[in-house]
C-alpha cells in the first residue's frame, strides 16, 4: 500500500524522473526487437524500422503508461488549473474585470448578509427565546400603539395572567447616572429593571448573582449590575469586582452584584448599568402608579403555551382592570409581540432592502462575469476547435472551460470574502448609533459558507454556459475562419441576453436607489421648525440626592444658563427639557377652562424651557409673548403653546388668555395655567412625523433634573469651538458633574435622518456599482462584435462606406442592447418598488420623475460605453484589416 502510494507520489512530483525511466525501458524494447530482426538477417536500418513500426507511436505508449500511473486525474486538474491561469493571464484585463465584478457582488452580499444574520436570523441569546414576548399597551383615545406600560398595570398582569411563567419590566428611555470616584466623572447609560428581569430572560451574569425577585421594591439595599464594557474600562476587568461598591452620584454607594456578559443588549447595546426600580411600597396604590406610563414589559410564556393563548390570558386581565379602574383604564388595551420581532422592529425593512439591493448587485455581477467569459470564450474559439481537432473529448474541453470559470470565481470569492469582512465591520461602524440592536457583526462560518456557495454556483452558472457553447462547435466549422462569425451567432445572442438582463437589473436597482434618495432628500429638507445652524447643545443631568430641593435645581440651571450666555462667542444660551427631532418628552391629556371635558382624551407633549429658548432656536413667535423674567415660581402659572396646538384645539378663536389644566377632568385641585403666547411648531419626534400639539412651561414653574443646554454662537464663531469653555464652566459649577454628548444642533438634526441616509446612500453605492458593471458588459459585447466583424468593417469602408455609417452600425447594436434592457428594468421596477413603500417619505413608488431620470442617465452612460467600440470600428483600416487573416 505504502509503496503504491510512493509510486503515485513519485509519478506526481518526480515527473521527469518517471518519464525518463519509461523512455529508457521503451527504447530498450525497440532495440531488442531490432536486434531480433537483425539476427534474422535484416540490415540494421531495416530491422530498426520494422521494430519501430511494430512498436507504434512512442507517444501513445507513453500516454497509455501515464493513464495507468493513476496520477492522471490530479495531473489533469493541475494542468487545467495551470492552463486556466495562463488563459486568464493572457486575457488579463478581462480577468481583472471578472474578479473585481465577482468580489464586489459577493462582498456586498456577504457584508449585508452578515448583518441580516446577526440581527434577524440568529436566535436571541436568551434561554428558550421563542417563549419570550413583549407586552405593550394601546389606547385609541390617545393614539397609543405598542406604548409603554404603567407600573400598577404591569404588577397586575404579572400577578394575574396565568399563561406566563414570569413577567419582568425595564426602562428603555435614555436614563443616565454619573460614575464618580474613578478618574473623571463619567455619565453612564442606565436601565431600571424589576428583580426578576434576568430570570425571565434566562440569562446569568458572567459574574455574581444579579438581582433577586422583589428587588424592584426599595428594601434598603442598593444593588447594581454593570456591563462587560464598564467592568473592563472602569474596573480594569478586576475579577473581584462583585461585592465592591461604586458611587453613582447619590448619597449612598451601590453594591455591584453582577457583571453582564459582553453582547447582552437589552434594552440597548449601549446600556452600562442595570439598577432596580426601587419603588416604595406606598406608591403601589397611588393613582400616578397607574396613570404614568414608562415601563417596557417582557414576559416568558409557560411551556407549551402559544402566543394566542397567552394573549387571551392577558386580555382577561385587561378587561378586569378596565372594570376595576375606570378613571385610568377605560380605554386601555394591551397586546403581545414575540420578543425577537420586537427587537428587530424598524430595522427589518431597511435590512431587507439592503439585502435585496446586494442580491441584485450579485445577479448583475454574475451576468456580467457570464458575458465577460463569453467574450473570452469567443476570442478562444479557434483554440478550442484546434483542441477538438487534435482529439480532445467534449467532456475534457468542457471541464477546461469550467475550470477556468472556477479559478476566476475562486479568486473573486477570496477577494469577495475580504470585502465582505471589511464591509461588515464598516457597516457596524457606520450605522447610525443604535440602528442595529447588536454589539458586533462577525463573518461567521454560516456567512462564509453562504459566500462560498455563491461563488461556486455563480462560477458554474456562468462557466457552464460558455462551456456548453464551446462544445457545440464543430471543429471544421470553427477552423474555417470565414465562418467564424456564423457559428458563434447563438453564443453572441446569449451574450446579448445576459447584457440586456444586466442593464435591466441595474436600472431596477438604480430606480430603487433613486426613490430612496429622493425620499431622503425630501425628508431632510422638511422644515423642522427651527434653525439648527450655529447652535451647540449639551445634555446634563444633576443627581437628585445632591440637588434635593427644587430651589437647588433651579439655582443650578439658572447659574448655568446665565454664565453660558456670558461666555465669549456665545450670543444667547437657554435650556430645554428635550431637543427637537429626537425623542419627545412626556405627554398628558388636558382640559380648557369653561369647556366640557373632551370626549376623547387629548394627548399633548410638554417641555420646560429656561432662558430665551425660542430665540436661540429661531422658532418664530406667532402671537402673544414668550416667557419673561417675571414668570417665576410664585407668579401666575403661564404657558406657551405651539401653533399645531392652536390650530387643532383653538380653531377660529384666540388662544391667548385661555386657561388650561393637565387633568382630563378638572376638579377643585386642578392647577390652571394661562396661555400667553403661540410659537411656531418644531417637529418633536423626528422629521418624518408632523409636529404634534405641545405646551411649553417655564422651567421655574416645573423644574426637572435633566436638561439640555442650547447655545447660539455669535455669527463668526464655530459652535464646536464653544465645547471647551462649556466643559470648563460646568466643572466650575459642580466638579462632580459629567457633561454628556456635546453636539452641534446640525448634527442632532442630521441624526434624525441618519437611518434614511445610511440606507439610501448604501443602496445608491450598490446601484452605481451595478450600472458600472452593466456598462462594462455593454462595452464588452460591442468590443467583441467589432473585433469579430473587423474584416467586414474594413470591406464596408473599402467599398465606400463612411466611417460614420460604420460607427452608426455599432452604435445601433448598442441601442438594441440598451433600449430593451432599460424598458425591462423600468417594468420590473414598476412591479417591485412597491415593497419600498413604507420606507418612502412623501414620494410614491411610481414617481415618474425618478424613472425618467434613471432611464435617461443609464441610456446616456450606456451610449458612451457603446461609443468607444463604435469609434474604433469607424477607424478600421481597409487595407490592414483585409491583410489580417
Amino acid at each position: 500500500m505504502l509503496k503504491a502510494l510512493r509510486l503515485r507520489l513519485r509519478a506526481l512530483f518526480d515527473r521527469s524522473g518517471t518519464e525518463r525511466d519509461l523512455d529508457d525501458e521503451l527504447r530498450f524494447h525497440i532495440e531488442q526487437e531490432a536486434a531480433r530482426h537483425a539476427r534474422a538477417g535484416l540490415p540494421a536500418e531495416e530491422a530498426l524500422r520494422r521494430a519501430r513500426i511494430a512498436f507504434g507511436s512512442m507517444e501513445s505508449a507513453r500516454e497509455a503508461h501515464r493513464d495507468q500511473r493513476g496520477s492522471r486525474g490530479v495531473e489533469d486538474v493541475l494542468a487545467d488549473v495551470r492552463y486556466a491561469a495562463r488563459a486568464l493571464w493572457r486575457d488579463r484585463a478581462l480577468a481583472v474585470a471578472g474578479i473585481v465584478t465577482l468580489a464586489l457582488g459577493i462582498g456586498a452580499t456577504t457584508a449585508v448578509f452578515s448583518a441580516v444574520d446577526a440581527v434577524m436570523l440568529r436566535e436571541l441569546p436568551f434561554r428558550e427565546p421563542s417563549r419570550l414576548v413583549q407586552i405593550w399597551v394601546e389606547n385609541p383615545d390617545r393614539g397609543w400603539h405598542k406604548n409603554v406600560v404603567a407600573p400598577a398595570n404591569y404588577l397586575d398582569w404579572r400577578d394575574r395572567a396565568g399563561a406566563f411563567e414570569g413577567v419582568a419590566a425595564y426602562t428603555d428611555y435614555q436614563a443616565t447616572v454619573t460614575l464618580l470616584g474613578r478618574d473623571e466623572p463619567t455619565l453612564l447609560t442606565a436601565a431600571y429593571t424589576t428583580g426578576n428581569f434576568l430570570g425571565v430572560l434566562g440569562v446569568r451574569p458572567q459574574q455574581g448573582r444579579g438581582f433577586e425577585p422583589g428587588d424592584e421594591w426599595d428594601n434598603g439595599q442598593r444593588p447594581v449590575i454593570i456591563s462587560d464594557r464598564v467592568w473592563r474600562t472602569h474596573f480594569g476587568a478586576d475579577p473581584g469586582v462583585v461585592g465592591q461598591s461604586m458611587s453613582l452620584g447619590g448619597s449612598r454607594p451601590w453594591q455591584i452584584v453582577g457583571v453582564m456578559p459582553a453582547g447582552f443588549s437589552l434594552p440597548s447595546p449601549g446600556t452600562d448599568v442595570w439598577m432596580p426600580m426601587l419603588w416604595r411600597p406606598d406608591q403601589r396604590e397611588a393613582v400616578s402608579f397607574r396613570r404614568a406610563h414608562w415601563l417596557r414589559v417582557v414576559a416568558r410564556m409557560q411551556p407549551g403555551v402559544t402566543p394566542t393563548q397567552a394573549n387571551a390570558s392577558l386580555q382577561t386581565v385587561v378587561r378586569q382592570l378596565q372594570a376595576e379602574y375606570p378613571a385610568t383604564n377605560t380605554r386601555m388595551g394591551a397586546g403581545i409581540t414575540p420578543l425577537h420581532e420586537w427587537i428587530i422592529g424598524d430595522t427589518r425593512m431597511p435590512l431587507l432592502v439592503l439585502l435585496s439591493a446586494a442580491g441584485l448587485l450579485l445577479l448583475i455581477a454574475c451576468a456580467n462575469v457570464g458575458s465577460l467569459l463569453l467574450v473570452h470564450a469567443l476570442g478562444r474559439s479557434r483554440d478550442v476547435s484546434l483542441r477538438f481537432a487534435l482529439g480532445a473529448t467534449r467532456g475534457r474541453v468542457a471541464r477546461q472551460a469550467v475550470t477556468e470559470s472556477l479559478v476566476l470565481s475562486g479568486l473573486g470569492g477570496i477577494a469577495g470574502l475580504a470585502i465582505g469582512w471589511a464591509g461588515a465591520k464598516a457597516l457596524m461602524a457606520m450605522q447610525p448609533a443604535g440602528m442595529l440592536p447588536i454589539t458586533e457583526i462577525a463573518v461567521d462560518v454560516r456567512v462564509f459558507l453562504f459566500a462560498l456557495a455563491l461563488t461556486t454556483l455563480s462560477g458554474l452558472a456562468f462557466g457552464m454556459a460558455p462551456a456548453v457553447m464551446a462544445t457545440r462547435q464543430s471543429p471544421a466549422n470553427a477552423l474555417n475562419s470565414a465562418s467564424r462569425t456564423v457559428t458563434s451567432r447563438p453564443i453572441r445572442r446569449w451574450g446579448r441576453w445576459l447584457v440586456m438582463g444586466e442593464v435591466a437589473l441595474a436600472v431596477t436597482l438604480t430606480i430603487g436607489a433613486g426613490l430612496l434618495l429622493r425620499s431622503f432628500e425630501r425628508l431632510s429638507r422638511q422644515p423642522a421648525g427651527f434653525d439648527p445652524e450655529g447652535v451647540l447643545t449639551a445634555s446634563l443631568s444633576i443627581p437628585g440626592t445632591r440637588y434635593a430641593t427644587p430651589a437647588s435645581v433651579k439655582d443650578f440651571y439658572q447659574q448655568l444658563v446665565e454664565r453660558a450666555g456670558a461666555l465669549p462667542g456665545v450670543e444667547l444660551a437657554a435650556a430645554v427639557r428635550a431637543l427637537p427631532v429626537t425623542e419627545p418628552s412626556w405627554s398628558s391629556s388636558f382640559a380648557v377652562r369653561g369647556r366640557p371635558p373632551m370626549e376623547q382624551a387629548a394627548d399633548v407633549l410638554h417641555r420646560e424651557v429656561l432662558g430665551p429658548y425660542f430665540q436661540v432656536m429661531r422658532v418664530p413667535l406667532v402671537a402673544g409673548r414668550t416667557f419673561a423674567a417675571s414668570d417665576r415660581d410664585g407668579a401666575a402659572q403661564v404657558v406657551v403653546i405651539n401653533d399645531a396646538m392652536a390650530r387643532q384645539y383653538f380653531p377660529g378663536e384666540d388662544p391667548i388668555g385661555q386657561q388650561i389644566t393637565y387633568d382630563r377632568v378638572p376638579d377643585s385641585t386642578s392647577v390652571w395655567r394661562t396661555v400667553i403666547g403661540v410659537v411656531g411648531s418644531e417637529r418633536q419626534g423626528g422629521l418624518a412625523m408632523p409636529a404634534r400639539p405641545e405646551i411649553f412651561a417655564h422651567f421655574f414653574q416645573d423644574e426637572t433634573s435633566r436638561m439640555h443646554l442650547v447655545m447660539r454662537a455669535e455669527s463668526r464663531t464655530d459652535p464646536a469651538a464653544l465645547a471647551q469653555p462649556v466643559r470648563r464652566l460646568v466643572r466650575d459649577l459642580d466638579s462632580l458633574l459629567a457633561l454628556n454628548s456635546l453636539r452641534p444642533m446640525t448634527e442632532v438634526h442630521a441624526h434624525a435622518t441618519s437611518r434614511e441616509r445610511f440606507t439610501s446612500v448604501l443602496v445608491l453605492v450598490f446601484a452605481i456599482t451595478g450600472v458600472l458593471l452593466a456598462l462594462v458588459g455593454v462595452f464588452g459585447v460591442l468590443a467583441q462584435l467589432v473585433q469579430a466583424r473587423w474584416r467586414e468593417m474594413g470591406i464596408r469602408l473599402a467599398l465606400g462606406a463612411q466611417p460614420s455609417d460604420v460607427r452608426g452600425l455599432i452604435a445601433g447594436h448598442g441601442a438594441r442592447l440598451l433600449i430593451p434592457g432599460i424598458a425591462a428594468g423600468v417594468l420590473v421596477a414598476l412591479a417591485t418598488t412597491r415593497v419600498l413603500g413604507s420606507l418612502l417619505y412623501e414620494i410614491r413608488p411610481t414617481d415618474w420623475a425618478t424613472y425618467v431620470i434613471v432611464a435617461l442617465l443609464v441610456a446616456l452612460t450606456g451610449m458612451f460605453a457603446a461609443w468607444l467600440p463604435a469609434w474604433r470600428a469607424g477607424r478600421a483600416n481597409p487595407v490592414s484589416t483585409l491583410r489580417a487573416d
Partner: protein, 112 residues
C-alpha cells in the same frame, strides 16, 4: 457485424494473470516477457507493448511485482520485473478463478 469488445476488466485481468505466470520462472524485462508469452502460446498471443507496459505498471502498483534496473547478459541496462510473495499468492488465486471461469464458459458453450 462487429461484436462489442469484451469488458476491458476481463482483458486486463487475463493479461495480468499471464504476466504473473510468465514471471514465475525468473525475473525478466518487458521485451523478454512479450517474447516468452508469444513462445508459450505458440505464437497465438502477440502481446502488444501498448498493453504490456501499462499492465506491468499496474502490477507494480498493486505490489504484485517489483522492478529494478539491471544489466543484461550483453551489458545493456534493462528494467527487470520479479514476482513478489504477494504476487505469487495472487497468481495461485487468479489461476483458480480463471479455471473456474473457463470451465463455466465451456459448460455453457457445450450445452448449446
Amino acid at each position: 457485424m462487429a461484436f462489442p469488445p469484451p469488458s476491458s476488466d476481463v482483458l486486463r485481468g487475463t493479461l495480468d494473470l499471464l504476466v504473473l505466470k510468465t514471471l514465475t520462472l525468473e525475473p525478466m524485462h518487458g521485451w523478454g516477457i512479450s517474447q516468452r508469452m508469444q513462445q508459450m502460446s505458440r505464437s497465438v498471443l502477440d502481446v502488444h507493448q501498448g498493453s504490456l507496459y501499462p499492465a506491468l505498471q499496474r502490477l507494480e502498483q498493486k505490489e504484485l511485482v517489483e522492478a529494478e534496473w539491471r544489466t543484461t547478459d550483453n551489458n545493456r541496462r534493462a528494467r527487470y520485473y520479479r514476482l513478489t510473495a504477494k504476487g505469487r499468492r495472487a497468481l495461485g488465486e487468479e489461476t483458480q478463478s480463471w479455471r473456474r471461469y473457463v470451465a463455466a464458459v465451456e459448460d455453457i458453450l457445450a450445452a448449446t
